[in-house]
């Protein structure tokens, strides 16, 4: 009886398992296998097993560390912006001001349009000659002359961070808003009775109440942003002179512009391991959630 139950259960999950195995595990193992191979599409005669040579090359080259640095700056800045502004936005929308719905409708726009489209629109807005941002800033006297935002190293990185945060913000706000609704209003009333001001309420009631949501969203957002590809690719393609070349872009360019699939796979494996650390942290958070 027991055995039969197990079998039935197993049969039920079998289709999903097959799909998982074919679309997730097979490519994963294949990438891992490729990372020990020399495989350059334009030089098929050099194909063959080369062991850990790619990995040695990666850790010895300063290129990898530089791109890892850019990735970390990009990821941490973008996530920080999303969390801080997400919280501010959620707090503002939590009160029933007149016009909340209008604000809300405007806020979800970045989430509704495809991110590549958003990135391309921003690219035009930031354009030196045709961009509206330069027009407005010059007109207001903020800037003396038009700035080619995506042609300077610092402003290019700043631009992709802001646009990435802009795309990810609405979802943050929604989740924080849902989190705020779960904090019992009695806590606020008690705090008010004790004479707590706005910031004290924020510090002793709101943040602790949102702690688990903050942690989970923070890690999820870290993983997602670390892997963010389309926004940078559509806006700068990793340029100018690699200023916005995050690891994901670097992997893509290694594979599809240098056709070096072996090295690209090794880079992908390294990136996978870095992200796994985040994921393990995330799963632990979830486990704690269960205990609460």
């Amino acid at each position: 009886m027991r055995k039969k139950d197990n079998l039935t259960g197993f049969l039920f999950i079998l289709p999903a398992l097959i799909v998982l195995l074919t679309v997730v595990f097979y490519p994963l193992l294949w990438t891992f296998w490729l990372s020990f191979q020399e495989k350059i599409l334009i030089a098929p005669q050099r194909d063959g097993f080369i062991g850990v040579e790619h990995y040695q090359g990666i850790f010895q080259s300063d290129v990898f560390w530089r791109f890892l640095g850019i990735t970390l700056i990009f990821t941490l800045s973008s996530v920080a912006i999303k969390i801080i502004f997400g919280l501010v936005g959620a707090l503002l929308l939590n009160k029933n001001h007149p016009g909340t719905n209008v604000y809300w409708s405007i806020l979800v726009i970045p989430w509704l349009i495809p991110s590549v489209v958003g990135a391309l629109i921003w690219r035009w807005m930031l354009h030196e000659q045709f961009g509206i941002i330069n027009r407005v800033f010059v007109h207001l006297g903020v800037l003396e002359s038009a700035v080619p935002w995506l042609s300077r190293e610092f402003t290019a990185l700043l631009s992709v961070i802001i646009v990435d945060a802009w795309v990810g913000l609405p979802f943050m706000i929604i989740v924080f808003l849902a989190g705020l609704k779960t904090i019992p209003s009695t806590l606020y009333e008690a705090a008010k009775v004790d004479g707590a001001g706005f910031f004290q309420q924020l510090r002793f009631v709101t943040i602790p109440g949102l702690k688990s949501v903050l942690l989970v969203m923070g890690t999820l957002s870290l993983i997602g942003t670390f892997n963010s590809f389309n926004i940078i690719y559509a806006m700068t393609g990793g340029g100018p002179v690699n200023a916005t070349n995050t690891l994901v872009i670097h992997i893509y360019r290694t594979a599809f512009t240098q056709y070096n699939f072996g090295l690209a796979s090794a880079l992908a494996v390294v990136t996978f391991i870095i992200i796994s650390c985040f994921v393990i942290f995330y799963i632990r958070q979830l486990d704690k959630e269960g205990e609460m």
């Binding site: 097979y26 490519p27 294949w30 990438t31 490729l34 599409l41 334009i42 030089a43 098929p44 354009h127 030196e128 000659q129 045709f130 002359s145 080619p148 995506l150 042609s151 300077r152 190293e153 700068t236 340029g239 100018p240 002179v241 992997i251 893509y252 594979a255 599809f256 512009t257 240098q258 056709y259 699939f261 796979s265 992908a268």
Partner: protein, 428 residues
């Protein structure tokens, strides 16, 4: 990632053989004058998959029409066309080679051909034509198809480049002659640079188009990319460094700062949008001006030079892949694609230079002033070296140019670093 792409490309190119009604009794012979010596095209129905690089409306209308006309002459051969964007063409071909999903025939940029040959996927064409056949083509175009003693494609497009300038602006500023030397170019370009508009539309996006733009300056200063025997980089010579120093100066003094991200299309758009006074483009550009800025008063002149006259000559090829199962039909199509009539139609349609000798003397071509100009400068046209590593060398040079423009490295340092990388590549 790789798996996904593989799947994507293979499904994208999976062909469904269209059954077409063939009323027999049709003479399946080549519809043009020359005898290929291989005229026994099969009677059975064949479907050819053909890729064409280039996606704009002009390309589509011309090629769709060509395929229709071909089908009338050869009812047993159905041609399925796919248009591939130029900037994705190389990677699509390379990925398809790796996955065995290549088409039968594809147009291809001449600068990619040797690389594809080295990957052992291109069909050599030497046995398909008789001895007199190559004579029918313009030497400069035919020579680009030769590599290691074989013919790997047929010329399918040939262009040179020139300097486009705003004749009306020149008049306003009282400049009588377009610039002929580097110094004059810089001087003239500075005249137009005032924050609202700029002197020169430069390309610096670090792609192959950056190299296209910079190469004439290198050649015009007596420099070259590689040694004669193609074993070593020489673009970091004194001539090369000077050329990049000049290019950088032109960028800082007379081009929008954002040019660092500009592709060729961007610089053309700046010209069309009244933002720059000059830029360098090929013979297809007058068509764009006609459509987008019909009242523009422009002129075309030769590249300003320092030591010697030079401009970039590029050839597109049409090539057959050795994985094709219908090689005879594929050859029939290639022969038709590049016959005299189609070469002339293409030249008139797109503004390209004829690659067939007979068409060089066509009245209509000779009487079109723009066309006559591009024909005229063909004498000074220089082509890229033909070797499998070229696309990578091209990329290394483009990166060096962009680094110099950004100020990340001095022109000399940037070129030296690139040369070192290229030499390493050539040694392997």
């Amino acid at each position: 990632m790789k798996k996904f792409t593989t799947l994507f490309f293979s499904t994208a190119i999976l062909l469904t053989a269209a059954a077409c009604n063939n009323n027999d009794g049709n003479e399946a012979g080549s519809g043009n004058e020359n005898e290929s010596g291989n005229n026994n095209a099969a009677e059975e129905d064949v479907t050819l998959s053909v890729w064409v690089m280039g996606t704009d409306e002009y390309w589509r209308s011309y090629h769709d029409d060509l395929v229709d006309r071909f089908h009338e002459d050869h009812p047993n051969i159905t041609v399925e066309l796919d248009y591939i964007p130029w900037d994705e063409g190389e990677s699509q071909l390379i990925n398809s080679s790796a996955n065995n999903t290549l088409p039968d025939v594809s147009t291809i940029a001449g600068r990619w051909t040797a690389q594809m040959v080295a990957m052992d996927v291109v069909e050599p064409l030497d046995d398909y034509y008789n001895e007199a056949y190559p004579e029918e083509f313009v030497d400069a175009a035919w020579n680009t198809t030769q590599y290691e003693g074989s013919t790997w494609g047929l010329p399918a497009g040939f262009t040179t480049t020139g300097l486009f300038y705003r004749a009306d602006w020149f008049e306003e500023e009282g400049i009588e002659e377009p610039p002929a030397t580097w110094d004059e170019l810089l001087e003239t370009a500075k005249t137009f640079t005032d924050g609202e508009r700029y002197g020169f539309g430069i390309v610096g996006d670090g792609s192959m188009e950056t190299t296209l733009f910079w190469a004439p300056f290198l050649w015009g200063n007596g420099g070259d990319f590689l040694t004669e025997d193609m074993t070593e980089a020489v673009f970091n010579s004194q001539e090369g460094v000077e050329a990049l120093e000049f290019y950088t100066e032109l960028y800082r003094e007379a081009a929008p700062e954002g040019s660092i991200n500009n592709s060729r299309g961007d610089s053309q758009n700046l010209f069309l949008a009244d933002s720059v006074a000059m830029t360098t483009v090929g013979p297809w550009f007058p068509k764009f001006i006609e459509d987008d800025a019909p009242d523009m008063d422009y002129g075309i002149t030769e590249y300003p030079v320092k030591e010697q006259a030079a401009n970039l000559g590029t050839a597109d090829h049409i090539a057959m892949f050795n994985t094709s199962e219908h090689k005879e039909a594929a050859w029939t199509f290639m022969e038709y694609f590049t016959n005299e009539e189609n070469d002339l139609t293409w030249a008139k349609h797109q503004g390209f230079i004829p690659y067939r000798s007979a068409n060089l003397t066509d009245d209509e071509i000779l009487n079109d002033p723009d066309m006559a100009f591009f024909l005229d400068v063909a004498e000074d046209a220089v082509s890229y070296p033909t070797l499998p590593e070229w696309p990578q060398i091209d990329q290394a040079v483009a990166d060096a140019v962009q680094q110099a423009l950004m100020g990340a490295k001095s022109p000399e340092e940037a070129l030296n670093d690139a040369a070192e990388a290229v030499n390493q590549l050539l040694e392997n």
